[in-house]
Every structure is written in structure tokens, then in C-alpha cells.
Amino acid sequence: MTSPTHQFEITPIVPFEVGGVDLSFTNASLWMVIAAVVTTSFLSICMRRKAMIPGRMQVMAEGLYEFVANMIRDNIGPRGQQYFPVVFTIFVIVLAGNSFGLLPYSFTYTSHFAATGALSLLIFFAVVFIGLYRHGFHFFRLFMPAGVPWWMSFLIIPIEVVSFVIRPITLSVRLTANMIGGHIMLKIFAGFCVGMLSLGAGGYVAALFPMLFNVVILAFEFLVAFLQAYVFAILCCIYLKDTIEIGH
């Protein structure tokens, strides 16, 4: 029996190397391609006939759109609509990664720090550049909230700077840890099942209990997969809002 962490191993499918840099097409890349193709074709097929009165398929695509649009409207405000494409893309790619990872024999690319770290660093640098572009030097008011007495600045500024810089780390570790933790839990209980089967006739009855528990965990993991994509997207919204409305 392989170890529970075996599922997170990256194996190259098409080995490919350029100047000492490993650029192989791995199973992680394969599932990213599958996620991109499935989500793009799903949305294009749903919106093939743009009817005034939406059909079944169109309602699904519009529901997804409305969900993210409402999230932006509630958290950033009307000025946030220009950031809709990036938030929608991040939400869909994280949701697809989380939920395709729950298919048997698949690979969860959101369980790797490299993938989630890249997404959260994108948001981090976007926040810094948008803030500097919109507010110029005034951007650094973010680290010194209005109405704080000047002698508190020695305490407030280091805390605010650290909590700002640590954002991409917490954002990506939250998603990665949730995915790794849940998938390891699934595999450990599946391992109990296999272990009990080797005990004979009584083992077959006993193996039902970890299996039933695994069903419950799997349902919970679907909730977590959606919830973590939601949390990731909503935190992106909150970070973008911070930088748009400095000093309010």
C-alpha cells in the first residue's frame, strides 16, 4: 500500500528540458489544461444561444457570473466592476482545481504551494501596483490608519507592514493546507478499509464503518472545495478594496 502523501507526487508525462530548466509536461500541467478546457467549453456551450429568457444551461453560466458579480458589488462597491475578470478567473480556476481533485485518480494542483502561491502573489503585486498608480505616495497611508495618534505609529506601522507582507503567504497556505489535509484524511480512512479487508470475514463487516465515514468526509470535502474557492476570491476582493479606498 502506498503512503497517503503519494497522491501529491508530481510525475512528468512528457519529459522536456531547456538549458537545465525542467519544463516537463507533468500530471499537474495535465489537470490544469483539463480544468481550463472544461471551464472554457462549459461557459461557451452554456452561452451559445444568448436568449433573452435564459434556458437551463444559460442559467448555470449566469448564476456563476452573478455570484462573483454580487461578491464584488458587496465587497468592493460599484468601482470594483473593472476587476471582475481577474476575480472571476481566480474563483473559477481555484474551484475547478479543488473539485477536479476530488475525482478518483486525479491530481489536485491547488494542493501545491507553487500553484496557489503564484495566484496569491499575482493579487499581492496587483494590489501594490494599483495602489501606487491610483494614489502615488499616498498609498503608504495604508500602513498608518487615519485618526491614530503619532506616538502609536512606532507600534502600528510594523504591525501593519508585517500583516500586509504576510498576506500572500496566508492566502495560499490556507488553500493548500485545506486541500492537503482533506485529501490525506480521505486516503487514511481508505487505508483503514483496505487494512481491515485482510482480516477475513469479520473484517469485511468492520470495513463498512471507515467506508461510510469516508462518504461523509467526501461530502464535506465538496463543501470545503467550494468554500475555499469562495474564501480565496472574497479575500482577493477585500485586499483590492483596501487599496482602492485608502484613508476612508
Binding site: T5, D74, V173, N178, G181, V224, L227, Q228, Y230, V231
Partner: protein, 75 residues
């Protein structure tokens, strides 16, 4: 003590934060239920905040589980 036994104890100790997560989740669920019972019209508005706080609190338990698993499986 031997390294193996220290590892097992450390793995168990790393799961202690789950106690506080349980307390926190209990508070979140109870205050959510109380708020909805007092004002059922606000349920739709409270749902989103409830799920956000629930996911962020639950993430702490997953962090603890991950640290414990790293101690047990990787070290």
C-alpha cells in the same frame, strides 16, 4: 527518549489547537443560530459572513493537522 517516541508525542501535541478551534466553531454556530432565530429575515445576509468565518476558523484546525502530519510522515 528515543527520536521515534519524541516524534509521536510531538505529533500528538501539534493537534492541541483543535481544542480552541472547537470552542471557536461552537461560538460561531451558536451565535449564528441565535441571530437567525431572533431575526429570520437577516438569514440571507448572515449566511455569507457565517461561511467566511467558519472557513477561516476551520483552516486553523487544518493547519494543526498538517503540522502534525508533517512531523509524523516527513521528519
Amino acid at each position: 527518549m528515543e527520536f521515534e517516541s519524541v516524534k509521536l508525542i510531538a505529533g500528538a501535541l501539534a493537534l492541541l489547537p483543535i481544542v480552541t478551534v472547537a470552542l471557536g466553531l461552537g461560538r460561531i454556530f451558536s451565535s449564528y443560530n441565535e441571530a437567525v432565530a431572533r431575526n429570520p429575515n437577516a438569514a440571507e445576509h448572515l449566511d455569507k459572513k457565517f461561511f467566511l468565518t467558519f472557513a477561516m476558523t476551520e483552516a486553523l484546525a487544518i493547519f494543526a493537522l498538517l503540522v502534525s502530519l508533517i512531523i509524523l510522515l516527513v521528519l
